[in-house]
């Protein structure tokens, strides 16, 4: 069922069993999971069904740290959320990503990789991926022409990826949500405040607003914030009437530990014999990226990361993401990003004729960022048009990320030497092991993780292992803001897996009499 909140009387009250705030990848995944059940689900979406510039402007904010994409254009504010722009790259986190690593401060989740397996499997269907199988032999059996670059995987292994079409949630799931009798979708219901009881032990009511000046009050047994890694902490911090430091923020963790994946060109790989290396090629079919084994990460005390391969002649024609995605209007940024790919692939077609395209590759890193409490989201004194303080992002990178990137390629280079297949050259910015600076083309993956991190200890985390905000009995968080560490892969598959896990948990909790 769909209700446009602009058509309601100002101050209307709606009530339900659970209230999900935000209809993006995680909010829609959860709502879909409740369709046909006995519970009334209220799904609040700040935007409408289409892009709208005025609504999008509610996401504008400042960047004061490491150069980053404009906050206004790095997330989408309408039904379907940022899946309207995502690229569909999917892979699972590794076991080591959930472990406490003594060389990575603040690492460790209260859950294990195996806890997520059944949910990864379900998430696969939602983003329309193939079989839930990330083993190389499985895919080589399916596609025998996928040959590995290196003969053994003791140091460098082949991490498999799969590609969603990419599923545009706003299109794919709109009818199912709108036609579900027990899901009540309210569009133009932008949440501006969450009110608690006097003791601040739980949420009593959520308030939404829109540009027509119609506010809506929503009450439910359980509330789930699924607004994304910047808006989740922003909303917690801005809901500060009863809790002056913001909700769930008794220990000053909300908004801290902001992480993105470092996505940056890092090295050039030269082969003795040209090879198309189809296993690593971007064709839409599953492919591999080169990664360092857990044992080697431990031995060298580095973060998890992967390297993807693009023919050098093509890659040299591509502009860095941080340069393409510099416009405040997300549609403009997307156009520039696509333009860069189109220009480069034109070059691919031309170069193919000369036949020497596959003798050299650019190695592009996707590196985990170490959790850093100083890398954070805070509130500005400036407010958006609906009266909520805007977000300020201070993205901070540390030295471990750089050391890890350098080591990643050193290890790949040595393995290539052992195998006699070619050589690697690091880019200038990696050549001096003592140089802590980052080059202008340093970018992130548009992944906003860690800002309401998961930890069983309220002093070091915002949510517990069930994604419940510490200290509040009925507020939960879905999305990558709960990630304790970021691992190397893009986050959406893991976001959805965690959301489905939360969904199962809530079904149990809501079923219990209060």
């Amino acid at each position: 069922m769909h209700i446009d909140a602009r058509t309601l009387e100002d101050g209307s009250l709606v009530e339900g069993d659970i209230c999900i705030v935000g209809a993006g990848a995680s909010g829609i995944s959860m709502a879909m999971d409740w369709i046909g059940g006995p519970y009334k689900v209220i799904l609040l979406e700040g935007g409408g069904f289409e892009y709208d510039d005025k609504n999008q402007d509610l996401f504008a904010g400042k960047n004061i740290g490491q150069n980053y994409y404009p906050l206004r254009s790095s997330r989408l504010h309408y039904f379907g959320g940022t899946t309207g722009h995502w690229g569909g790259y999917c892979s699972t986190f590794d076991e080591i990503d959930f472990q406490k690593r003594d060389w990575v401060e603040h690492s460790g989740w209260p859950i294990k990789r195996s806890d997520l397996d059944p949910f990864y499997m379900r998430a696969h269907k939602i983003v329309e991926l193939g079989s839930y199988n990330y083993s190389l032999p499985y895919w080589q059996y399916e596609q025998p022409y996928m040959k590995t670059l290196l003969p053994n995987e003791d140091v460098v292994w082949n991490k498999m990826w799969q590609f969603s079409p990419p599923t545009r949630f706003g299109v794919k799931y709109r009818d199912a949500i709108v036609n579900a009798p027990n899901v009540h979708l309210y569009t133009h219901a932008h949440v501006v405040d969450m009110k608690t009881d006097d003791q601040v032990t739980g949420i009593n009511e959520i308030i939404t607003k829109n540009f027509e000046g119609r506010s809506l009050r929503v009450r439910a047994k359980k509330y789930v914030l699924a607004c994304n890694g910047i808006q989740n902490p922003r909303l917690l911090l801005a809901s500060n009437k009863q809790a002056p430091k913001g909700l769930g923020n008794d220990h000053d963790n909300v908004g801290r530990y902001f992480m993105d994946h470092l996505e940056i060109k890092s090295a050039e790989m030269y082969l003795f014999k040209p090879d198309r290396l189809i296993l690593y090629a971007l064709t839409g079919k599953p492919r591999a990226e080169l990664s360092i084994t857990a044992a080697m990460q431990e031995q060298h005390r580095i973060l998890n990361g992967t390297a993807s391969l693009t023919p050098l002649k093509v890659a040299r024609k591509m502009h860095p993401n941080i340069e393409n995605w510099s416009k405040e209007d997300p549609r403009e940024s997307l156009k520039r990003e696509h333009g860069s790919y189109i220009e480069a692939s034109k070059n691919l077609r031309l170069e193919k004729i000369s036949g020497d395209l596959y003798d050299a590759y650019e190695l592009f890193t996707r590196m985990e960022q170490a959790p850093n409490p100083d890398s954070r989201i805070t509130l500005d004194t400036e407010k958006d048009a609906l009266g909520v303080p805007r977000a300020i992002l201070n993205w901070k990178l540390g030295s471990l990320e750089k050391k890890s990137i350098r080591k990643l390629y050193e290890l790949i280079g040595i393995e290539m030497g052992k195998a006699g297949v070619g050589r690697i050259k690091l880019m200038d910015y990696l050549q001096d092991a003592n140089d802590a600076n980052w080059p202008d083309f340093t970018g992130g993956g548009w992944h906003h993780m860690g800002t309401t991190r998961m930890n069983e200890d309220p002093r070091t985390g915002v949510v517990d292992a069930n994604c419940r905000v510490h200290g509040l009995n009925n507020l939960y968080i879905a999305g990558d803001s709960v990630f304790a560490t970021s691992a190397a892969p893009n986050p959406t598959l893991t976001i959805i897996a965690l959301t489905l896990r939360l969904s199962d948990h809530l079904k149990e909790v809501v079923a219990k009499p209060v």
Binding site: Y270, E410, I414, K418, K425, M427
Partner: protein
């Protein structure tokens, strides 16, 4: 290269090495060329860069800035062995390639001017730098 040749070459003395440079030339070029041309690298590294790598290596290992010493290191992997045999340029190339492979296996590598190289490759670049200075 067979095992017997390899043992003979790795027993090369420094005066013996000096003789190697005297006019020894065959299909692969002179003995000097065999030592100074990193066959694994020349496909994608131009001479100017090889020269730069060599310079950088010598700055890190100034004690090796000597043609004779480098020859011993390139062929033997160590410079403390004596030898009786004059390897041909082709044999020298084979020996060097074996050393490069062994360097990677034994983690005798370094990052020079961004390149992840076997020590033997870096020494070849150094040799190139010395003879082209």
């Amino acid at each position: 290269m067979n095992r017997r040749d390899f043992t003979r070459i790795t027993a090369l003395s420094i005066p013996g090495i000096a003789l190697l440079f005297q006019g020894c030339k065959n299909s692969s070029g002179t003995f000097e060329e065999a030592l100074s041309l990193p066959r694994t690298l020349y496909k994608f590294i131009d001479p100017k860069e090889i020269h730069e790598i060599g310079k950088a290596y010598l700055a890190l290992s100034p004690q090796e800035a000597d043609k004779i010493k480098l020859t011993g290191l390139l062929l033997n992997g160590r410079n403390d062995k004596a030898t009786q045999m004059n390897p041909s340029p082709d044999q020298a190339i084979e020996m060097i390639e074996a050393n490069i492979h062994e360097d990677f296996r034994q983690d005798r590598t370094s990052i020079i001017k961004g390149w992840i190289l076997a020590t033997t490759e870096a020494r070849q670049c150094a040799f190139y730098t010395i003879i082209h200075n």
